[in-house]
């Protein structure tokens, strides 16, 4: 089971260590973690994607809640939410497959950020499924490097 947990924290140093340390100390696995300031500059939002069984994830939420600098823990998977991730993918390219790659990128509404003779950097934004299927499509051409921001998410309410 996978959960997206949105955590509002005090925006000062040391908070990230507290949260990240909690995961390692309790043996929780994080899939991804994205941090940024919110509309209120004194508050940061951490979006954590974690995998585990129901009991473990329940503990994750409770343990996060227990941290003094954590203001609120929201389990987005319990409600209707919107999620996005931005990925930069460096793909091997040659004259034969160039048009095919560009066409695939186009169907995914991806952006070509940088083109070299042998490589192309494609920027794609989307939810989990879209990113997954894009990566699957690109794999046969040769993925040299992938950089991901980690997922961010927002409740629709």
């Amino acid at each position: 089971m996978k959960k997206i947990i949105s955590v509002l924290v005090e925006n000062h140093f040391g908070v990230l260590t507290h949260a990240a340390g909690l995961f390692s100390a309790r043996g929780f696995n994080i899939d991804s973690l994205a941090v940024g300031e919110t509309e209120d500059p004194t508050i940061s939002r951490m979006t954590i994607v974690a995998e585990g069984d129901e009991k473990t994830l329940e503990q994750v939420k409770k343990q996060l809640n227990r941290l003094i600098d954590v203001i609120k823990v929201i389990d987005l998977t319990e409600e209707d939410f919107l999620d996005r991730e931005l990925v930069l993918a460096k793909v091997r390219i040659d004259d034969k497959n160039r048009s095919e790659i560009l066409q695939i990128a186009d169907t995914f509404q991806a952006k070509i950020d940088d083109t070299k003779k042998e490589t192309v950097v494609i920027e794609i934004t989307g939810d989990e499924d879209k990113i997954k299927s894009f990566i699957k499509k690109m794999k046969p051409f040769g993925l040299i490097e992938i950089v991901r921001t980690g997922r961010i998410a927002m409740g629709r309410k």
């Binding site: 924290v9 260590t17 503990q59 343990q63 227990r66 941290l67 003094i68 954590v70 203001i71």
Partner: protein
């Protein structure tokens, strides 16, 4: 009025009502020690920072107030760590102040620099590194608030030396305001009503109570609850004294070295009412076979404790004292006469006992300490066999009477904790029940006891070995006694005397009473060296991985 950071610390401590602190000086805390020079706060100079942390912890456990300790940066801070981990694991309110190198040097591997907030993160409830003197008063206010409310714990405040010297206007906040921290106090009334109904319908209920009852001051309410419902009570090591150990409804301690009747009662029960306890592995034994027929009501202030180890049917999050008070409004007595008969027969069949012959046995020593102090002493323990015998045979009737490192199991805890307890409760008799191994881990604090005229009594149950480890090697490692025999022990009598304390050696059973009487008459610290039977084991015992009703040596 402008004050330096160091003065702000002292003034803030005064505002918090802090009367005593424990610690050790060093380079980067010089400004604080200079401010202490003119202050009314009683400062107890221990002989090791670990001793200071344990003493602050013992003071806190004995009085219910916040314990305060102070150490310098680097090794001062790292020496505190074992003590802080000990306190935090047992939910003891301690605020620790550490010196830090000046802010401009942080991260430079400066002399005596360590990353204190990094080191203490997993062993504290919260920590602060103060980088601006303007925040200092608020940080101190918050630190005491966090340490002492909700599930209490350790808060560390790391103070760079330049912050201690900078000046700012001093204003101590009236109230701590932390938006991410609002511990629940009152239990959910719907949950309470559900719990009460389950209790009324139960046939074989057991109250399983832990340190949370003592921390929340719920002992009186608990007693009222028990006398109304007649539900038998078993206690964890941390819960000893939460309910009178001599009460007829007390089952004593449960778990690995608990009484056989407590463990049988748990395994047979149809309803466990856990209050301020956390289903620790030393209590549950093999978790899959723990209390197989029981529904579980769990009252705890820490939501994380709920359903962490066992699945709970009715959780009630909040302060135990509040929740029991609310339950008392609705509670009906369950029909459990048959259950009482079961329990009475277990008590008769499997009493807590030891071989009462002419030999000097450690359990006998503990019983005689109980007799001579009329069960009223504050007992601190070290860790190992001495701790278990103290738990089994010193039947505490009051909360804050039994002080022991439960969660972390820290050897060397008992003696400095006794010093802290004696500082907090000067009129009480304080006994540290120790082993010859543990006592040597913080023996240097004899100086602290002597120089502060603290009449702490130490009873070393001296069996010449690390008894608990030896016991495990005997039972589970084919008697291959690997590095547990303590050869070259010092002469404890001479040692005590060289520190200016009194030493008494007891080698015969018939001398125990007389020696204890003499020790209690002496106004200063007394170290008693009881040469007990070396091969004595702690029974009953549940081996690792066994359910708690599978006990070794349940019959004496």
């Amino acid at each position: 009025m402008k004050l330096t950071g160091a003065k702000i610390l002292i003034e803030s401590l005064k505002k918090q009502g802090i009367e005593v602190m424990f610690g050790y000086p060093g380079g980067v805390v010089l400004p604080i020690f200079d401010a202490l020079y003119d202050s009314d706060i009683k400062f107890i100079l221990t002989r090791h920072e670990q001793g200071a942390a344990h003493a602050a912890d013992g003071y806190a456990r004995a009085t219910g107030k916040v314990g305060v300790c102070l150490a310098t940066s680097g090794p001062g801070a790292t020496n505190l760590l074992t003590g802080l981990a000990t306190a935090n694991m047992d939910s003891v309110p301690v605020v620790a102040f550490t010196g830090q190198v000046k802010t401009t040097l942080i991260g430079n591997d400066a002399f005596q620099e360590v990353d204190v907030t990094g080191l203490t993160r997993p062993i504290s409830k919260h920590n602060y590194l103060v980088k601006d003197v303007k925040n200092l008063a608020t940080v101190i206010k918050n630190a005491f608030h966090i340490a002492s409310t909700g599930r209490p714990g350790v808060v560390v405040v790391d103070l760079p030396v330049d912050i201690q010297m900078q000046e700012t206007d001093f204003h101590y906040p009236e109230k701590a305001e932390i938006r991410g921290y609002n511990p629940t106090c009152k239990g959910h009334i719907g949950q309470i009503k559900k719990a009460v109904k389950l209790i009324a319908d139960s046939k074989k209920p057991v109250l399983y109570v832990g340190g949370g009852v003592i921390i929340s001051g719920a002992s009186e309410k608990l007693r009222e609850f028990v006398e109304k419902t007649e539900i038998p009570v078993t206690m964890t090591l941390m819960g000893l004294g939460a309910f009178p150990g001599t009460h007829e409804l007390s089952l004593g301690m449960l778990g690995m070295h608990g009484t056989a009747y407590a463990n049988h009662a748990i395994q047979e029960s149809d309803l466990i009412i856990a209050v301020g306890a956390r289903f620790d592995d030393r209590v549950t034994g093999k978790i899959d076979e723990f209390a197989p027929h029981a529904k579980i009501i769990h009252i705890d202030i820490d939501p994380c404790a709920i359903s962490k180890n066992v699945k709970v049917d009715i959780p009630v999050v909040g302060d135990a004292n509040c929740i029991i008070a609310d339950m008392l409004k609705y509670i009906k007595k369950p029909d459990i006469e048959k259950w009482h008969k079961n329990i009475a027969s277990w008590k008769k069949e499997f009493p807590l006992a030891y071989k009462n012959d002419s030999k000097l046995r450690p359990q006998y020593v503990v019983e005689e300490i109980y007799n001579i102090t009329k069960g009223k002493a504050i007992i601190t323990t070290e860790v190992g066999q001495n701790q278990m015998w103290a738990a089994q045979f010193y039947k505490c009737d009051s909360p804050r009477q039994f002080i022991s490192s439960g969660g972390l199991g820290t050897m060397g805890y008992g003696f400095p904790a006794a010093i802290g307890a004696q500082m907090g409760c000067p009129k009480k008799t304080v006994f540290d029940i120790a082993g010859d191994g543990s006592i040597q881990m913080n023996i240097q604090e004899l100086t602290t006891a002597v120089s502060n005229k603290l009449p702490v009594k130490i009873a070393i149950l001296n069996n010449g070995c690390l008894g608990m480890v030896r016991q495990w090697q005997e039972l589970f490692y084919k008697k291959r006694y690997s590095h547990v025999i303590l050869e070259g022990c010092p002469d404890f009598i001479k040692l005590a005397e060289s520190y200016g304390a009194t030493g008494i050696r007891i080698t015969k059973k018939q001398d125990v009473k007389k020696a204890l009487k003499r020790a209690l008459k002496i106004k200063g610290p007394v170290l008693m060296d009881f040469r007990v039977e070396p091969g004595e084991n702690v029974f009953p015992m549940v081996a690792i991985g066994q359910p708690i009703n599978k006990m070794i040596g349940a019959l004496a």
